[in-house]
Symmetry: C2
Subunit: 378 residues, 2 copies
Amino acid sequence: MTPDRAAVRRPTILDVAARAGVSKSAVSLALRGSAGIGDETRARILACAEEIGYRSNRLARALVEGRSALVGVVLNDLSNPYHTEIVAGIEDGATAMGATTLLTHGQRDPHRTELQVDMLLGLNVEGLVLVGSRIPVAALERLGRTLPTIVIGRLEAPVPGVDTIANDDQAGAELAVRHLAALGHTHIAHVSASLRPAARSRREAYLSTMERLGLGPHATVHARERVDGEDEDLDAVARRAVTDPRTTAVFASNDVAALAVMDAASASGASLPDDLSVVGYDNSTISRIVRPRLTSVDQPRPLMGTLAAEMLAERLAGRTTDRHEVLLPTLVVRGSTAAPRSAGPRSGGPSGRDGQALPADAGMADPSDGWTTTKPGP
Amino acid sequence: MTPDRAAVRRPTILDVAARAGVSKSAVSLALRGSAGIGDETRARILACAEEIGYRSNRLARALVEGRSALVGVVLNDLSNPYHTEIVAGIEDGATAMGATTLLTHGQRDPHRTELQVDMLLGLNVEGLVLVGSRIPVAALERLGRTLPTIVIGRLEAPVPGVDTIANDDQAGAELAVRHLAALGHTHIAHVSASLRPAARSRREAYLSTMERLGLGPHATVHARERVDGEDEDLDAVARRAVTDPRTTAVFASNDVAALAVMDAASASGASLPDDLSVVGYDNSTISRIVRPRLTSVDQPRPLMGTLAAEMLAERLAGRTTDRHEVLLPTLVVRGSTAAPRSAGPRSGGPSGRDGQALPADAGMADPSDGWTTTKPGP
DNA sequence: GAACAGAACTGGAACGTTCCAGTCGCATCG
DNA sequence: CGATGCGACTGGAACGTTCCAGTTCTGTTC
């Protein structure tokens, strides 16, 4: 049985005031720890508040203060553990600036995402972080005009008033290809999981790196046929990639695709990593579950989160220029990559020990902070 | 460059009223679609609102209405994809009752969880759903007295005013053991991942089911030594479970533990599922990634979510008695279970085809709705 | 002992809504 | 033709805070 909650009105500042025999202003002062109130009175007020279980009404406060101290985070897909570490980073940053984080998820659906954003705006959030969200460009432009907005992930084109944080897909892809080449692979194929901007630039970087390494003639891209549903025939693409007997290594544009390749290879009787080396992208939980464990490009997710919070703080402090950050990924080497059967490593390259992280090309940025800044295009 | 947002005050209902040449009340009426306003005037007001980009301030509305139309959901661990489907269910239910869902995560930490709950209370949420959250009992009791609270997961002991939704661990464990026995296994071991209530009752059900099947003498429980950190030596336990040559099957108390068992078995040269059958619990993404794919007990997660929303609605409609639901799990049979090498199946049991779901024992509940109700203890 | 300073506290206004008790004008009715 | 009723609209109060301009009181200074 539960006490009748409807009858028990939630205590307000006035109830506390009445009990302590002071005015509501005194209570407000005491609760917020402001000066201008005696220690003795303050203690009494605090005690009274405690006794009747007073809890400040954040809605009312937000209304009068004109600021909600709320930051909205929209996740495209809650089930993607990829997002989790980013969120943790955002939360830490937001907490540091005295704000609290409100999460919602768009369920991979632009329409739902827009609805969620609307409801966050209704709650007067002071800033918005969209994590890998799919949202119509028009809506994003409106947001850029309305409040500080940070997008984590790659945008088709920059939107005025919207900051972005992405990882350097070029560098990541290069890292993967160079790792395979250093092991002695020459016939390195690429499996591209989607046509979204991130996958596209990984593919381009794959091609250019192959070219630069003099392996251009051996480059092959296995992409999906343009089917509308996205996860349509990834397995078919993987099977296609695995059939070519000359291919000894595959760089996949994400871990899910890499998993499909590993499955296809095993199904055709290949033994991993001896017959086929596989590199994924995202360093998701998949990479630690699958056997052999997957070598994968890792994005600095916690950093992405704290950076988002930092950029939000800047915006709130008055920054009006757009900022676009590109972070350098690293490669986490695990058991899915090894020298091909026919050849040893071409150089004193990575030893391939499980879980060893390699920083992105040191020539491109200072590896000590792990990321670099690029200015947006016109 | 961004327009100076600070200068642009967010338009209010009064701005709309001024522009449309009516009173604020008329605008309020028009926006909410109430009667008492002419079609022509309404259209004009709506147009004006659109023009100046008016957006209702939910805070102010909540303040005066005394209800926020907000439901708070606290996730213990965002990275656990287990939760995702539950959240989707809650959201659907909440949307149906005209409320929106606010997510936060407790980061597996009781203290942080309490903080998150506090901030949700400050936002005047009308109900709270805690998903697998670890929160001090004292705090939970306070919540039970304050507002409708639903806990998804098993509680040590019922808390007055708090509803619970859990899956029937007994039935789930029985399902797993019976499946293995039907395949012909007699030496079925159990690996217990934790000492939390759910794992404990799975273990008890394992033991009693073994007993009932006349396999009591062959029952062995491999539990963790009492180490404070939870994931401490799961692998060691798994290795221990795998060393006994007579053991041909293992029922693990969750998928993570099952994965450890599979790893340990592979490491010791066993081939799965021929040398060892493994059953997990949770039917998490792990079970679909690992090879062979893991047979696992599945909890009706979407149902748990919608049920939570339903129970919340009941509470808001005035229910004051506590409700405790126990849902029946099913078994999803995949490739990790097969008849032992030495013996065929003892009966015309399950065929073991990949992904086939078996309902829980029909004698315990009507399988058509998939769940049953149990009344709480005194 | 009057003037003053400052600390401690108070009461009203404001925030952006909804709600409610009216007011106004107009058509209908007896 | 005056009363009645009703639809359309208005203005003030209220929600629970914070903020600000006062007010009171105590002690200090000349």
